[in-house]
């Protein structure tokens, strides 16, 4: 019983962390129309920054500064902000698919760097000893996970409420205006470029936050937790949940991750061990087909965005 319960606590923690990434992507895509093809890259930047800043010193690694947890979280968000700002500055005034290419470039490059720069990242082995908040106080794994679930719930709620406030502020309305009709927004004196860069940087910072939260949950970092497929899964969460709808996106995180974990279990049970790779391939093909089909036949997602009209129309 406790085994099943602890699995669900773990599962819920992962869903919340992925949900925060999905909220970040929704700010970029759902509300601003910016295509981030390297979500996993920003997640990895956050994770590695946090890990390098907070992990206990180790002889053969140049990082591992042993700084406090909160410094790691702030550093992760700052590093993502800088990376996002550089690619946004390079691409946002150009064609809208160039941002997709540049973010894809970040993800590919970060993956290769984490694998190859052994002195900083520990290479393919990664490293452990990453600071976990209050891990002395909650000493058993189960109590720590339970505490961490509470912490994550609070952070997710905070992010959700903050985003909600921002999107309903004049700032958020400008974002939507730019997405719907850029020329009109510019004619009203709003700088489309500036607003896009702000939304992109902010969304990427959320991905960095999620990365920091993930490694300080697991206490360990390795390149194999940041595979390119993750970008696709986060996209699936946003599309399935309905882009431009933060509640839907959180639900999407639960549904997509539930399906992924569930089908993983099914593949492990049904497929003979010699064909595990093929079983995994079927899993990916199915999710790919689901996405392409939903793009072709149901572009609005499961829930979709609430239609917003001017108050004066109602009145």
């Amino acid at each position: 019983m406790i085994g099943l319960l602890s699995y669900f606590v773990f599962f819920a923690c992962v869903v919340l962390i992925l949900g925060i990434i999905a909220l970040g992507l929704n700010l970029q895509w759902g509300y601003t129309g910016l295509f981030n093809a390297g979500v996993v890259g920003f997640y990895a930047i956050g994770a590695y920054t946090h890990a390098v800043l907070t992990a206990l010193p180790k002889a053969d690694l140049i990082g591992n500064f042993g700084l406090p947890w909160i410094v790691g979280v702030a550093g992760a968000m700052l590093a993502c902000a800088i990376a996002a700002w550089i690619v946004a500055l390079a691409t946002i005034r150009l064609r809208d698919d160039y941002l997709a290419i540049a973010t894809f470039g970040i993800a590919t490059t970060i993956q290769l760097v984490t694998l190859n720069w052994d002195r900083l990242t520990g290479g393919s082995n990664g490293f452990s000893g990453i600071r976990r908040p209050l891990s002395d106080f909650f000493s058993t794994p189960f109590s720590f996970n339970l505490w961490y679930l509470a912490l994550l719930s609070a952070i997710t709620l905070l992010v959700y409420v903050a985003l909600d406030r921002m999107l309903h502020s004049p700032w958020g309305r400008v974002l939507k205006a730019i997405r719907e009709d850029e020329t009109a927004a510019i004619a009203l004196g709003k700088s489309a470029t500036q607003f896009r860069i702000q939304a992109f940087v902010l969304g990427s910072m959320l991905m960095g936050l999620a990365g920091a939260l993930y490694v300080s949950f697991i206490g360990f970092v390795s390149p194999f937790d940041f595979l390119p497929i993750l970008t696709f899964q986060i996209w699936a969460m946003v599309i399935v949940g309905g882009s431009g709808n933060n509640k839907g996106v959180l639900l999407g995180a639960l549904v997509v991750w539930g399906m992924w974990a569930g089908s993983g279990v099914a593949v492990a049970k049904l497929v003979p061990p010699a064909y595990v790779a093929q079983g995994g391939a079927i899993q990916v093909i199915l999710i790919g087909v689901l996405l392409v089909v939903s793009l072709l036949f149901r572009p609005g997602g499961l829930i979709g965005e609430n239609v917003t009209v001017s108050r004066s129309v109602h009145g």
Binding site: A102, I106, T108, A277, L295
Partner: protein
Amino acid sequence: MLGQTIADGILTGAIIALGAIGVSFGLQILRFANFAHSELITWGAYLALAFVGFFGVGTPIGPVSFGWQLILAMLLAGLLTGVLAFIVDALVYRRLRNRGASSLTLVFASFGLALILRHLIILGFGPGTHAYTHELQIAIEVWRGIRILPDQIFILAAAIIVVAGLHLYLTYSRTGIAMRAMAESPALARACGVKVESVIRWTWMLSGALAAMAGIFLGLTPQLHPEMGSSLLLELFAAAILGGVGSLPGAVIGGLLVGLSENVSALAISTVYKTAMPFILLLLVLFIRPQGLFGKKS
């Protein structure tokens, strides 16, 4: 040592160039970044592998490691990969285009298609590596300490012939002229009576065939694996944008520059920089000259 590095860089660059031509045309004629282009490279290589499995690789002609059967397999795989690109277009992209979907919807669809295509290869051929032939080759010293395998000389020659042929085709044939017209201005091309759908069809066929060539050459030096295309995708984008989208000489020179800079940086600094090189080049060109070396300012 530097000479050898440059020779290796040119070889990598030639293969990148063949893939980058399709990416560049896609960006300019089809107007979206096709993330599934890399999978056409993988499919081309594996289709040729299937044909090799069927007719064998043949007795080696002279110093190269394969016989005429592989060349036949190469041509058939090029044709089939072109057809595959066309089928994918008919099933997905054309429908989205007809619905008036934005270029980002197409990018997103290409993302999904890339996953499907890559994992179909894993499903069919397994996750491991394959090779066309296990024939051992001795490198030939072509010039003062620069050693090249006979297969690599074949690859370089074939790439030059293909690019030259493509250049003639684009310059003189009706379809080629229509493709360039589409690249310059789709609206104007349509007004002049260019059949847009037929140009798009030819663009896919050509990109697919070129991608297959790139894949087979990658597979010859030295092996095939399911990520062979996708691990090259960033290089392809960097080369296409560096050269200037829609430009054939641009894509070729972009490919060579990416290949050379990767190899030379690995020699001069360290291999960590090699992996970051395409991205650094991409950012530099976007900051300094976003239209690329041969592109026109829009």
